[in-house]
C-alpha cells in the first residue's frame, strides 16, 4: 500500500529548480545595479521560506506529541519541508556577510556609543552572526534526529521509537519557541532597532505554523487522489486541516490585534512610530488588506463545513493564506526601508519565487525518497484497522 511520489512530479521538481535558479540569477543580475535593494528583497524571501521549513518542523513535533489522524497524512510532507532548513542555512551565509548593509545598528555611520549598553552588546555583529549560526545548528540537529527516528520506525517497526520521537518533540518544541523568538528579534525586529514588543516572537511562530499548514494542505490535495494517501484522506480529514487553518488564522489575528491595541492605547514614543509607518501612506492599504484577506474572509469561510470538506476549495483558500503570510512578513519588515509606502522592486518577486523554487525542488526531492505514508506507526495502524 505504500508507494512514494508519483513520477509526474519529476517535471514539477525540475521546473522548480529551473525557475529557482533562473529567477534568483536574474535577481542577482539586477543586484549589480543596487545591492542594497537586492538584499532587502532577499531578506524578506529568506525570512518567509525559513519560516515555512520551521513551521513544518513545529507542526511535525506537535503531531508526534498529540497524535491524531490529520498528522499521518501530513507527516512525510512535514518531514520533507523541515529538511529544507539546511538549504536556508546555506542561503543565510550571504546575509551574514552583508549585515551592515541591512541593519542600521551595524552600519558604519551608526553611533554605537549612544546605544544602551545591553543593546550594544546584543546587537553586535559577532554576537548576531554567532546566534544565527546557533539557531540553524539547533534546527538542523533537531530535524536530523526527527527524520532519523522516523526512518528507523519505517525500517524496523519497533514500537519504542514512537516514545523516542515524543521525548525529542517535547523539548524540541521548547527549543523551537526560544530560537524562533530570538531569530525574529534578530532578523526582523532589529531592522528598527529602537522598537520592541514582547509578543513579536509569538506572531512569527503562528505565521510559520499557518504557512506550513497551508502549504501541506495544498500538496495533500494534489496527492490525495491516488494511493497511498487516498487510503486515509477523507473529506473529514480536510475538515480537520481546515480547522487547523482556522485556529492559526484566529491566533494570528488575536496576537496581531493585541499588539496593535496595546501599543495604540499606550501611544508611547518608543513604540508608536512602528505603527505610524505601517498604518499610513501605502502601508495603510496593505494593513487593510491583511485585516480583510488574512483574517475576515478566511475566518468566515473556514467556519463553514461546506468549504472545509471540499478539498479543492480548501486548497485554494490555503494558497491564498500562503500569499497573505508573505504579505504579512513584507508588512512587518519592509516599512523599515520604505517608510512612505511599499515600492515596486522586481527583485522582491525574483528572490521570493527564486528561493521558493529552490525550496520546492529540495522539498520534492526529499519527498520522493520515502513512502508517502509512515510505515509501522502504531497509532496509524490502529486508525487503518478501525477504518
Amino acid at each position: 500500500m505504500n508507494d512514494s511520489l508519483p513520477p509526474q512530479y519529476d517535471r514539477v521538481q525540475q521546473g522548480s529548480l529551473v525557475a529557482g535558479v533562473v529567477l534568483l540569477g536574474l535577481s542577482i543580475a539586477l543586484g549589480f545595479s543596487n545591492w542594497t535593494q537586492f538584499f532587502r528583497s532577499y531578506l524578506v524571501a529568506f525570512i518567509f521560506w525559513t519560516g515555512m521549513g520551521l513551521g513544518c518542523m513545529a507542526i511535525l513535533m506537535l503531531h508526534h506529541m498529540v497524535g491524531g489522524t490529520w498528522g499521518f497524512a501530513l507527516r512525510r510532507l512535514l518531514e520533507s519541508g523541515a529538511k529544507t532548513v539546511r538549504l536556508m542555512a546555506v542561503l543565510a551565509i550571504p546575509l551574514l556577510l552583508i549585515v551592515p548593509k541591512l541593519y542600521s545598528w551595524a552600519a558604519p555611520e551608526a553611533d554605537r556609543a549612544a546605544m544602551p549598553p545591553f543593546k550594544r552588546f546584543y546587537l553586535s555583529r559577532t554576537f548576531f552572526t554567532g546566534r544565527t549560526i546557533f539557531y540553524f545548528a539547533a534546527w538542523i540537529v533537531l530535524i536530523y534526529f526527527l527524520n532519523k527516528f522516523s526512518a528507523e520506525q519505517d525500517r524496523t517497526g519497533e514500537p519504542g521509537i514512537l516514545r523516542r520521537l515524543q521525548n525529542l518533540s517535547g523539548p524540541g518544541l521548547l527549543i523551537y519557541g526560544l530560537t524562533v523568538t530570538y531569530a525574529s528579534v534578530d532578523w526582523a525586529m532589529s531592522l528598527e532597532p529602537k522598537w520592541f514588543s514582547t509578543i513579536y516572537g509569538m506572531i512569527f511562530m503562528v505565521t510559520q505554523a499557518l504557512s506550513a499548514t497551508a502549504l501541506v494542505t495544498v500538496v495533500v490535495m494534489f496527492l490525495s487522489d491516488r494511493k497511498p494517501l487516498s487510503d486515509i484522506v477523507t473529506p473529514l480529514l480536510f475538515n480537520d486541516f481546515g480547522n487547523l487553518l482556522l485556529v492559526f488564522t484566529m491566533l494570528w489575528a488575536y496576537l496581531s490585534f493585541s499588539q496593535y491595541l496595546i501599543i495604540w492605547a499606550g501611544n508611547l514614543q518608543d513604540e508608536i512610530p512602528w505603527y505610524m509607518a505601517r498604518a499610513s501612506g501605502g502601508w495603510a492599504w496593505v494593513a487593510l488588506a491583511l485585516i480583510v484577506f488574512h483574517f475576515a474572509i478566511p475566518f468566515f469561510l473556514l467556519l463553514m463545513r461546506f468549504i472545509k470538506r471540499r478539498k479543492r476549495i480548501l486548497a485554494a483558500l490555503a494558497a491564498g493564506l500562503i500569499v497573505m503570510s508573505v504579505i504579512d512578513i513584507y508588512w512587518l519588515t519592509v516599512p523599515a526601508f520604505e517608510p512612505k509606502g511599499p515600492e515596486f522592486h522586481l527583485t522582491d518577486y525574483g528572490t521570493l519565487i527564486g528561493i521558493g523554487g529552490l525550496w520546492m525542488w529540495l522539498f520534492l526531492s526529499q519527498l520522493r525518497k520515502r513512502p508517502l505514508l509512515p510505515l509501522h506507526d502504531p497509532r496509524l495502524e490502529e486508525v487503518l484497522h478501525h477504518g
Partner: protein, 461 residues
C-alpha cells in the same frame, strides 16, 4: 502550543492500559455509583467537617464585607502609589482559576476529547464558583458597591455614561457574559442527569426538586437532538470567552503605560496563566474527591496525567512570558522598564518574586516532565497547590511591584496588606468551598449520561 489533539479519530498518547474508565462498568453500575453519592449514601461525617470549616470561612467573608460596607475601602492596605492591592490580585486569581473549567467542558468537547467526560461537570462547577468569588472583589473595591449599576450604559438623568475606552468597562461585559454562559452551559449539561436523579429518588421532596429542575426531560430522541445542538452551540460560545475574558483582564493592565503592566505579551500569557492555575485547581479538587468518594474508576490516572501535561504546556508559556518581559526590559533600553525588572528581582519584594519563580517555574517545570511524577497522585496534589500559590504571587508581583515605584521617587511607597485584606481573601475561599460542598452533596459531580456514553464507546472498541 499547549493544544491537545485535533481530529475525529484521535488516538491520544497515553500508556496502553490506562483507560478513561475502568473496565467492567455497565450503564447501570455507572448510574448507581454516581447517583448514590447524592441520593442514597447520605451525608457523611467527612463532608460535614469540610463543609463546616468552609462555612465558617464564609462567615469571615461576610464579616469582612460588612466592615468594608460600614467603614469603607480605607480598611484595605491600598493607598497612593499602590491603589490596586489585594482586591485586584484576588479578582484575577479567581477568574483565572475558573478558566480551566470552561476549557475542559467546552474546548475539549469541540476537540472531541473523550477524557474530559468524567471531570467536566465539577470543573464547570468550579468555574461558576470561582467567578462568583472573583465578582466579590471589584464590587467591594468600588467604595459604594450599591452604585455598581453605574457601570452599565443606560440612559439616566445624571448624564453619566461609561468610558468605553476603558478596559475596566470591558471587564464588566466580559465577566458578566462569561458568568452567564458558564451557568447556562452547566445547567443545560445537568438536565439529563437531573432527570435521572428525579427517576431514582425515593423521597418526595427530592423527586419534586429534581423533577422541577429537569424541565420535563423525558429522554426522547427529539430531546436528545436538541440537547446536543444546544450544548454544541454553548460550547462554541464558551470557547472564545475563555480567551476573551482573560485577555480583557490583561488589558486592565496593559492599556495603562505603567512599566511592568504595559507589555504586548500580556494577553496570551495571561490566558496561559489562567489555564495553568485553573488546571492546578481541578487537580486540587479531583485528587481528594476521587479518593474520598472512591471514584478512581472514573477519574483515572489517565485524567491526572493529561491534566499534568496541560499544566506543563501552559506553565511553559507562562515562563516564556516572564522571559520575554525580562529580555525586552533590557533590549528596549528603556530605563524605567529596566528598573522595574531589577526592582522585582532585587528590590523590597524580591523574596516574593523568587518564591513566585520557584512555585511557578522551578518546581513544576522541572518535575512535570517526568511521567513518574505525573502519575504520582501525592506529588501531583502538592504541585497543584504550589502552582496556585505561585499564580497568586504572580498577580501580586505584577500589581504591587509595578505600582510601588512611581516615576518620581518622591511618590515611592510600599504596600502592606491589612487584616481585612486577608480576611476577605480567605473568606472567598470559604465561599468557594461552601458552594463546592453543596454541589457534591446535591448534584451529580460526574456527568452520568456522558459516562454511560463512554461505557458504550469503550465496549465497542
Amino acid at each position: 502550543m499547549g493544544m491537545e489533539p485535533i481530529g475525529p479519530q484521535n488516538t491520544p498518547v497515553v500508556p496502553p492500559g490506562v483507560p478513561e474508565i475502568a473496565p467492567g462498568h455497565t450503564y447501570g453500575s455507572v448510574t448507581d455509583k454516581i447517583s448514590a453519592i447524592v441520593l442514597t449514601r447520605g451525608t457523611r461525617k467527612g463532608w460535614w467537617v469540610g463543609f463546616l470549616i468552609a462555612f465558617a470561612l464564609l462567615m469571615v467573608m461576610h464579616y469582612a464585607i460588612a466592615m468594608v460596607l460600614f467603614i469603607g475601602v480605607g480598611l484595605y492596605g491600598i493607598n497612593i502609589p499602590v491603589g490596586w492591592g489585594f482586591a485586584i490580585v484576588n479578582f484575577v486569581w479567581w477568574i483565572g482559576i475558573g478558566h480551566a473549567g470552561t476549557l475542559i467542558s467546552a474546548f475539549l468537547l469541540l476537540m472531541r476529547q473523550k477524557w474530559r467526560t468524567s471531570i467536566n461537570r465539577f470543573a464547570e462547577a468550579m468555574t461558576i464558583f470561582a467567578v462568583s468569588c472573583a465578582g466579590v472583589f471589584p464590587l467591594m473595591h468600588m467604595g459604594r458597591p450599591w452604585l455598581f449599576y453605574w457601570l452599565l450604559p443606560y440612559p439616566d438623568t445624571m448624564g453619566v455614561w461609561p468610558q468605553f475606552r476603558s478596559p475596566l468597562v470591558w471587564d464588566v461585559f466580559a465577566v458578566s457574559t462569561y458568568a452567564t454562559v458558564s451557568v447556562l452551559f452547566w445547567f443545560v449539561g445537568l438536565i439529563p442527569d437531573l432527570a435521572t436523579l428525579r427517576d431514582q429518588a425515593k423521597k418526595r421532596i427530592a423527586q419534586f426538586v429534581y423533577g422541577f429542575l429537569s424541565l420535563g426531560w423525558r429522554g426522547s430522541a427529539i430531546h436528545w437532538r436538541r440537547y446536543e445542538m444546544a450544548s454544541l452551540l454553548l460550547a462554541g460560545l464558551a470557547t472564545p470567552l475563555v480567551i476573551s475574558v482573560h485577555t480583557v483582564v490583561s488589558f486592565d493592565f496593559t492599556i495603562a503605560i505603567i512599566p511592568g503592566w504595559h507589555s504586548t505579551i500580556f494577553p496570551p500569557y495571561f490566558v496561559a496563566g489562567a489555564i495553568y492555575s485553573g488546571f492546578a485547581m481541578v487537580l486540587t479538587l479531583a485528587i481528594p474527591l476521587r479518593s474520598f468518594y472512591k471514584l478512581e474508576d472514573f477519574v483515572t490516572m489517565r485524567h491526572l496525567d493529561n491534566m499534568a501535561k496541560m499544566l506543563l504546556a501552559t506553565g511553559l508559556i507562562v515562563a516564556y512570558g516572564y522571559m520575554m518581559e525580562t529580555f525586552m526590559a533590557f533590549y528596549s533600553g528603556n530605563p524605567f522598564d529596566r528598573y522595574m525588572i531589577m526592582n522585582r528581582m532585587f528590590g523590597p519584594y524580591a523574596p516574593w518574586y523568587w518564591l513566585l519563580i520557584t512555585c511557578n517555574i522551578a518546581i513544576p517545570m522541572t518535575l512535570l516532565w517526568s511521567s513518574k511524577i505525573r502519575r504520582n497522585v501525592k506529588a501531583l496534589f502538592c504541585i497543584s497547590l504550589v502552582v496556585q500559590l505561585g499564580m497568586w504571587l504572580e498577580r501580586f508581583i505584577i500589581v504591587v511591584t509595578s505600582l510601588h515605584r512611581d516615576f518620581v521617587p518622591s511618590s515611592w511607597g510600599m504596600f502592606y496588606p491589612t487584616a481585612i485584606d486577608f480576611l476577605l481573601f480567605f473568606g472567598t475561599i470559604g465561599l468557594f468551598f461552601t458552594l463546592f460542598y453543596l454541589f457534591i452533596r446535591y448534584l451529580p459531580m460526574i456527568s452520568i449520561f456522558e459516562m454511560r456514553e463512554l461505557v458504550h464507546k469503550t465496549a465497542e472498541e
